[in-house]
């Protein structure tokens, strides 16, 4: 039976009613990282734990990817039906800024400081016909 599966494990809590980004927190210096990592990029400690990073933030910067990237980009799109997509850094409550695709893809829909909300979206079908999903953010104002 074909199902929905995360494109990569450990990036977000899912499935569930309110998916959250997952990251790591250093038990020694308290700094967060996304994705989670076993050692801390701030202090080098190997004492880290996986924590929920939340599902909302504000847009710190953004751009729009207007052409279809070459490999390693891998979706079901073709050059004919490629749809430009937004990319941004979203500042979360814990302070780190997470890079993400954005639902919005036009300059007049995006601005620094815009409140953003996490959503889980399809990426492509895998070889077994399962739908792979990943995270992205979208404007919380438009919802």
């Amino acid at each position: 039976m074909q199902t929905q599966q995360p494109l990569h494990p450990g990036l977000f809590s899912w499935p569930g009613s309110s998916p959250q980004l997952l990251g790591s927190r250093c038990k020694d210096c308290g700094e967060h990282a996304f994705p989670s990592q076993h050692s801390c990029r701030a202090c080098g400690s190997e004492r880290t734990e996986v924590v929920e990073l939340g599902n909302a933030g504000t847009l710190w910067t953004w751009t729009i990817q207007s052409f279809m990237p070459k490999a390693p980009y891998l979706t079901d799109e073709t050059p004919e039906n490629f749809r430009p997509y937004g990319v941004g850094y979203v500042e979360l409550a814990c302070g780190i800024k997470v890079e993400s695709r954005l639902h919005e893809n036009s300059a007049n829909a995006l601005r620094i400081g815009l409140p953003m909300k996490l959503e889980i979206v399809p990426v492509r079908l895998d070889n077994d016909g399962n739908q792979l999903v990943t995270f992205q953010f979208r404007s919380a104002e438009a919802l």
Partner: protein, 381 residues
């Protein structure tokens, strides 16, 4: 300890050379640099070289001669040339060698680079979902910077205009056609706020320099250029870097700031002493931000500087007099050395139509590359 001098300059023009491999373009540049120094390849005691897509640099010995020299390959992203120069500087400064060669070359496919996540310590999802593009990073960095420091789009256009104007008087440049304000403004958008003429493109080319102990430099040239510092620095926690799935809450200075400070300190020279500079301009925003990161002006002052013509060939700090990466393209292995090549010509007074007036005496070069590395060189007559 001895000073280090650059006594030979060689370049194979950047752009597209369908009939030549990257390695052959490196060999042409190396032969030109050695001839410029009036010497022979067998006089080279060491070489440091690098290339991203053109093959192993030490394969050059098959083309230049199997002399048995120490040849070390260097690979450090866009800072490859800077790292090679740093290694050569140390080799001579330490007294280990008297004379050697630094060489870089490349031959990239058309279109944007397509780096692989695994090479940068990232998982496949990052590339598969379309986040692994250097163009996005540069666009997002200048987007935030324009917001924080009130830089206008007109300033982005002016930087591109200058690059192509300088390229038009540089016989070795790839883009030798000046573009009007309208042509630049109306170009297709690549990655908001940067359009087609605001980004440099991957290209081909080769560049080489011959270095030696300063006390023997007069044997090889009438006008040696002294390499006063050659510094490479990596990123700190909190600096905003390319290929970063997340950024720290804290904001730390970029590796450009730390490399620049160290280079000025080693050289005993300050930003106000610099007469001509090459600042990494993989896109127009980078040149704007790097003016401040390298200490030449305050953050936010750039718009006034550029409006007043400060960075033009006849300005108070001419920047990217040969058109920089924007007009020359970026063959990664050669690009950082091309900057030093141009500064050496400016300090020798042999830069032709693009010669900075009043005999410049102090030059500066800066590269920035993935995943957050900067190289700075300070050169004097």
């Amino acid at each position: 300890m001895t000073d280090v001098a650059i006594v030979g300059l060689g370049l194979h023009p950047f752009g597209r050379s369908p009939s030549l491999s990257g390695l052959e373009q490196g060999a042409i540049a190396a032969r030109a640099a050695i001839a410029d120094a009036g010497t022979e390849f067998k006089a080279m005691e060491f070489a440091f070289g690098g290339s991203q897509d053109g093959g192993n640099a030490d394969s050059l010995v098959n083309l230049l001669g199997l002399t048995g020299l120490q040849f070390t390959n260097i690979w450090n992203g866009c800072a490859t040339g800077g790292s090679s120069l740093n290694a050569a500087y140390s080799a001579i400064k330490s007294g280990q060698y008297d004379m050697g060669l630094v060489v870089g070359f490349d031959k990239h496919a058309r279109g944007a680079f397509n780096p692989q996540p695994k090479d940068w310590g990232l998982d496949d999802w990052y590339g598969e979902t379309g986040l692994m593009l250097t163009t996005q990073y540069f666009a997002m960095k200048i987007q935030r910077y324009m917001h924080d420091y009130d830089i206008s789009r007109e300033t982005l256009v002016r930087v591109a205009e200058k690059a192509f104007r300088n390229g038009s008087i540089t016989p070795t440049a790839w883009r030798q056609t000046a573009l009007s304000t309208e042509e630049i403004e109306q170009a297709p958008m690549v990655s908001e706020p940067l359009n087609k003429y605001m980004f440099c493109s991957p290209a081909e080319g080769g560049c080489a320099l011959v270095l030696c102990r300063a006390d023997i430099a007069q044997k090889f040239t009438k006008n040696p250029v002294l390499l006063r510092s050659a510094v490479v620095r990596s990123r700190h926690y909190g600096s905003f870097e390319v290929f970063s799935p997340s950024q720290a809450p804290a904001v730390a200075p970029s590796p450009t700031v730390t490399a620049s400070h160290a280079a000025f300190e080693f050289a005993g020279i300050g930003p106000k002493d610099v007469d001509v500079a090459q600042l990494q301009d993989t896109e127009v925003g980078a040149e704007i931000m790097h003016l401040a990161e390298n200490g030449f002006c305050e953050h936010g002052e750039q718009e006034r500087w550029i409006n007043e013509g400060a960075t033009e060939i006849n300005g108070i700090l001419p920047v990217n007099t040969d058109g920089g990466c924007l007009a020359n393209g970026e063959p990664v292995g050669a690009s950082g050395l091309r900057q030093v090549y141009e500064i050496c010509h400016q300090l020798r007074g042999t830069a032709g139509k693009r010669q900075v007036p009043n005999a410049p005496k102090v030059g500066y070069t800066h590269v920035y590359g993935a995943p957050g590395i900067s190289g700075v060189n300070i050169l004097t007559t």
